[in-house]
């Protein structure tokens, strides 16, 4: 991919303790040659298997997380004809309803935008060193198990099939 693609992406932080604003995410992937923009927001939901929660606490290995996110972004531009991508993950104490992650991809057409966006969120969930803990009503705190919990650490990660249109 061209240097231009990378230059556009490398300024903003990908891991942040600050609130994620949807309109800023949308603006960050605007491109006059994009006919489609797909955005995914992950939000903190109120109910978990353990009961009602008051929030979620996220922590990350910052240096590695930034690096992994950047690699995923660059990987997208090699796999699909996309224009711009913005990925941001929030850390710290989040409340129910807060946006924990945003992935936005703009592309000439919707199939690339959807597929790249779906692929990116799946990759992030499997590869970026971030962990989260539910804060349950009543004071209990429970770590969420990672996607490959229970498997041997060197197992090859598998991806759900991304639909083709």
């Amino acid at each position: 991919m061209s240097g231009e693609f990378k230059d556009k992406q490398n300024h903003a932080k990908r891991i942040t303790a600050a609130k994620i604003h949807p309109h800023k995410i949308l603006n960050s992937v605007k491109d006059k040659n994009a006919g489609a923009t797909a955005i995914f927001f992950g939000t903190v939901r109120e109910h978990s298997e353990m009961g009602k929660i008051i929030g979620m606490t996220y922590e990350s290995y910052l240096e590695m997380a930034e690096d992994r996110m950047k690699r995923i972004e660059n990987g997208l531009s090699h796999k699909w004809n996309i224009k711009r991508v913005r990925m941001i993950h929030r850390i710290g104490n989040l409340s129910v309803g807060d946006v924990s992650i945003a992935v936005a991809v703009s592309a000439p057409h919707r199939s690339e935008a959807f597929n790249a966006c779906r692929y990116a969120i799946e990759k992030i969930k499997r590869e970026v060193p971030i962990w989260k803990k539910e804060r349950i009503v009543g004071g209990k705190e429970i770590w969420i198990k990672g996607l490959d919990s229970g498997k041997r650490r060197n197992d090859k990660l598998t991806f759900p099939k991304v639909p083709r249109f």
């Binding site: 290995y61 590695m64 997380a65 060193p129 989260k132 198990k145 996607l147 919990s149 650490r153």
Partner: protein
């Protein structure tokens, strides 16, 4: 250094590495990071043994622990060198 080879008339050279703990592993060890001294030419497996010796509480997490050497997920036979940063953590769970 019980397992270190005996070298006559020569000091055993060592390396210092920084070990970072995250999430459940951080809670089990009770610390965020520490410096660990290893015999020169140690590999990841040697470091794991040392960490388990210093923090037996992480043994219950053993099956689910991953290691990254200087931000790269590495194999158990990877050689370690002075100043390496090794992160120890459970499977990632972002999103």
């Amino acid at each position: 250094m019980k397992r270190a080879p005996r070298i006559e008339n020569k000091a055993i050279s060592t390396i210092k590495v920084r070990v970072l703990y995250f999430a459940q592993v951080r809670e089990a060890t009770g610390i965020r990071e520490e410096e660990v001294i290893l015999v020169k030419d140690s590999i990841v497996t040697n470091l794991i043994s040392k960490i388990e010796e210093n923090h037996p509480s992480i043994l219950r997490l053993k099956e689910n622990i991953q290691l990254a050497v200087n931000c790269n997920i590495g194999g158990k036979n990877l050689s370690l060198k002075e100043g390496d940063h090794i992160a120890v953590f459970p499977p990632v769970a972002g999103g």
